[in-house]
């Protein structure tokens, strides 16, 4: 599974992306975020407050309860500020 981080989520975590092999039970965005957040450090800081996080699965906006599977591209980022 390919993870991408943008904005202050990327800045806090310290990398712009990574490839992971999620453990059993990580089958939606929420469980992925909890699992990453539990790593602590920058991950905890970036992902601790899920209300501040927006999500895209395979480049489409998604909710925290969206299902995810191996091979997906999952992006985590702050609210967008385009325009």
């Amino acid at each position: 599974m390919r993870l991408l981080y943008f904005g202050w989520v990327r800045a806090k975590i310290g990398v712009s992306g990574e490839t992971i092999d999620p453990p059993d039970g990580v089958d939606d965005v929420r469980s992925l975020v909890d699992w990453l957040s539990a790593r602590g450090g920058g991950y905890g800081e970036a992902l601790g407050d899920t209300t501040a996080i927006r999500v895209a699965v395979n480049q489409e906006l998604a909710e925290l309860d969206a299902a995810i599977a191996a091979g997906d591209e999952v992006a985590l980022f702050p609210p967008m500020t385009g325009g």
Partner: protein, 151 residues
């Protein structure tokens, strides 16, 4: 048409390209967003736009399709820049052409309102006292929300 690019754009040339040779266009509306020298009260020296390559193009194409479904448009152009910009630099161009002015004006307004909250860009401002991420604004959410049921 969607363009996501680092380079600046020429507003006059882009607009002419949109209308040239199409004599059924009665009105063209456009909006140009520029980097301001102030963030709230703080002067800023630069703004860096980060984006999500691939998804940005997809989102902007979806926005264009949404506008074309809601209004009868002859043409739509969205150009959005990324990278490091300075005060006075152009960030974004939205232009819509239609037989009638109302469709052009409304769809242009709609697109820039939706871009603010639905285009995957994140802005980092350089101020005298360090860099700060631009927060999403509640007004932008309500501005986008306003178009939800229209027309």
């Amino acid at each position: 048409m969607i363009k996501v690019q680092q380079e600046d754009f020429d507003v006059g040339a882009e607009i002419s390209g949109l209308t040239e040779g199409n004599t059924s266009i009665g009105g063209l509306a456009c909006f140009v967003g520029l980097v301001r020298d102030l963030a709230g009260e703080k002067p800023i020296s630069a703004m860096t736009l980060e984006h999500y390559p691939g998804m940005t193009e997809r989102q902007l194409e979806q926005l264009e399709q949404e506008a074309r479904q809601r209004w009868t448009l002859m043409d739509v152009l969205i150009i959005h820049r990324y990278g490091r910009l300075e005060p006075g630099d152009r960030i974004v161009l939205v232009a819509t052409a239609s037989a009638h002015r109302e469709a052009a004006l409304e769809s242009c307004h709609f697109l820039i309102d939706w871009l603010k909250t639905k285009a995957p860009f994140w802005k980092l401002e350089d101020t005298g006292s360090g860099a700060q991420w631009v927060s999403a604004r509640d007004e932008d959410d309500s501005a986008a929300e306003r178009w939800k049921d229209k027309p």
